[in-house]
């Protein structure tokens, strides 16, 4: 029968397995683990605990005890190791812990990175990214899962840093915060200059020295902060914010001296970038050396290669200003001289014109007078009388023109050129 056949086969397999099973001395195993533990100085749980957990001969281990035992073995055997592989399924839990796997062509390794270590990651690695992880192997007892507890994770070459930089840059680009048309012009001669950097760093010394030489009339307002290490980015952003809120300065320098990529990392932080974008006055970035390039440089209104260069960029040189002032003085003086000379010339011209006009007026009047006199002369009756003519005037002085004007016995006057003759009509004229 099928059933019988089957049970027979099963019984046969079981018997074979029993024959093959090695004899395990649980007690000896527990002692061995405890001894290994003692050797590497790990106290708990101690040999007695293992002996207590070890099952009696013929019984089995509990799952918990076996997992705990396996964990002890795994943790005891291997020191922390560096592992290389591709990252896959990277997730950051709400708690801040990160979970992922490392893999190569044929195998996978579960990894966990606890919150405190994960916080130091510049960004989450991309899927498939080649990384190197430092961690210690362990077994997650609750699931019996073999895993690597990672304390450091780094991309090959610049991997993670570059990725973090590119991700933030892409985001800021998308928001238009790095656009050239957003860049503001610096004031020419700011009276107050804000500096966000470490109070005891080389950057501040350089800036004070350059501005003190070029523009001693200015005033620096330091908003101090740490510029590297945990929390530095938040401090830098806060220092920018305090200066912005105080509204004291006309331009702002944000930066620090040179350092390793990790030292400069705070200047690639999103909070710092946003604080710069929110600044009401233009910001000059001055991070590290010539070759260092940060997110701060991208969002600032001007990128200076070094703190000293930033200081030179925000104030004009006193000597150049003196030359400029001198230039204005000279131009004004020259223009004024010309204006005065012009006015003098105009005055002279005006006098000449006036005199000329006066003379021309007089001459014309004189001529007109002469002409009028000549015409008067021609019209004068005296001129006619002078030629031998006489005119008869009535008693009332009216000119007597017709014979009818002369009545009988009427007296009248004959007006001659040089006198008058009294006359009387003898006989009235009869028509």
């Amino acid at each position: 029968m099928t059933w019988d056949l089957f049970s027979a086969a099963a019984a046969e397999r079981e018997a074979a397995a029993r024959r093959a099973r090695p004899a395990v001395d649980n007690e000896a195993l527990a002692r061995a683990v405890a001894a290994a533990q003692a050797e590497r100085g790990a106290g708990a749980p101690g040999a007695t605990a293992w002996l207590a957990a070890a099952p009696a001969r013929g019984e089995g281990w509990s799952v918990s005890a076996l997992n705990a035992l396996a964990r002890e073995v795994v943790e005891g055997v291997l020191p922390p190791v560096w592992v290389v592989g591709e990252v896959t399924n990277f997730t950051r839990a709400r708690s801040g812990h990160c979970y992922f796997s490392l893999r190569d062509r044929s195998a996978q390794l579960r990894c966990v990175m606890w919150r405190d270590e994960a916080r130091r990651l510049p960004t989450a690695p991309a899927e498939g990214m080649e990384v190197r992880a430092l961690g210690r192997l362990t077994i997650y007892e609750a699931r019996g899962e073999f895993q690597l507890v990672v304390s450091e994770l780094e991309g090959r070459g610049e991997g993670l840093w570059k990725l973090a930089f590119e991700r933030l840059r892409a985001q800021l680009d998308a928001e238009g915060l790095t656009a050239p048309e957003r860049k503001r012009a610096l004031p020419r001669c700011p009276a107050r200059i804000g500096v966000v950097t470490s109070a005891d760093g080389a950057a501040l010394r350089d800036i004070v020295s350059v501005i003190g030489r070029r523009a001693p009339w200015a005033e620096l307002v330091l908003s101090g902060c740490r510029v590297q290490g945990d929390g530095a980015a938040a401090e830098i952003a806060a220092a920018i914010g305090r200066l912005s809120a105080a509204g004291l300065v006309e331009v702002l320098i944000v930066g620090r001296g040179g350092g390793s990529r990790e030292d400069l990392w705070a200047f690639n932080d999103e909070a710092v970038a946003r604080a710069i974008c929110a600044s009401p006055v233009p910001v000059v970035s001055a991070v590290g050396h010539e070759t260092d390039f940060t997110i701060t440089d991208l969002v600032a209104d001007l990128r200076a290669p070094t703190p000293s260069a930033a200081a030179e960029a925000v104030v004009p040189d006193a000597a150049a200003l003196r030359r400029e002032l001198l230039g204005y003085g000279q131009r004004m003086g020259l223009a004024m001289q010309q204006a005065l000379a012009g006015a003098r010339a105009e005055h002279a011209d005006a006098s000449a014109v006036l005199a000329g006009a006066l003379q021309r007026g007089l001459r014309a009047r004189r001529e007109r007078l002469a002409a009028a006199a000549a015409r008067l002369q021609a019209l004068s009756p005296l001129a006619v009388l002078a030629r031998g003519y006489a005119v008869a005037l009535g008693a009332d002085g009216a000119v007597l023109r017709r014979p009818a004007d002369f009545g009988a016995r009427m007296p009248f006057t004959l007006r001659l050129a040089d006198g008058s003759v009294p006359c009387r009509v003898e006989e009235a004229f009869e028509a």
């Binding site: 001669c189 009339w217 307002v221 305090r242 400029e324 002032l325 131009r331 223009a335």
Partner: protein, 81 residues
Amino acid sequence: MNSAREPSAASFEAALGRLQQIAATLEQEGLELHEALALFEEGVALLRQAEQVLGASELRVRQLLGEGEAARLEPFPPADA
């Protein structure tokens, strides 16, 4: 904020701009003499003021401490350092 230096330093940029404007206007033809004289006088006063600012000898550095209402400026480096 203290010291008489600040208003002049603050107006320095404005003074420079105005000087440039005055020089350019004076150079134009057809300015009435009394206008030219007034501009010239203003320019000379600005030049004096600017030179006074340029004469400042020592950079002042102060530190912004505290936040919001409590924000204050203190000498830097601190006097007791």
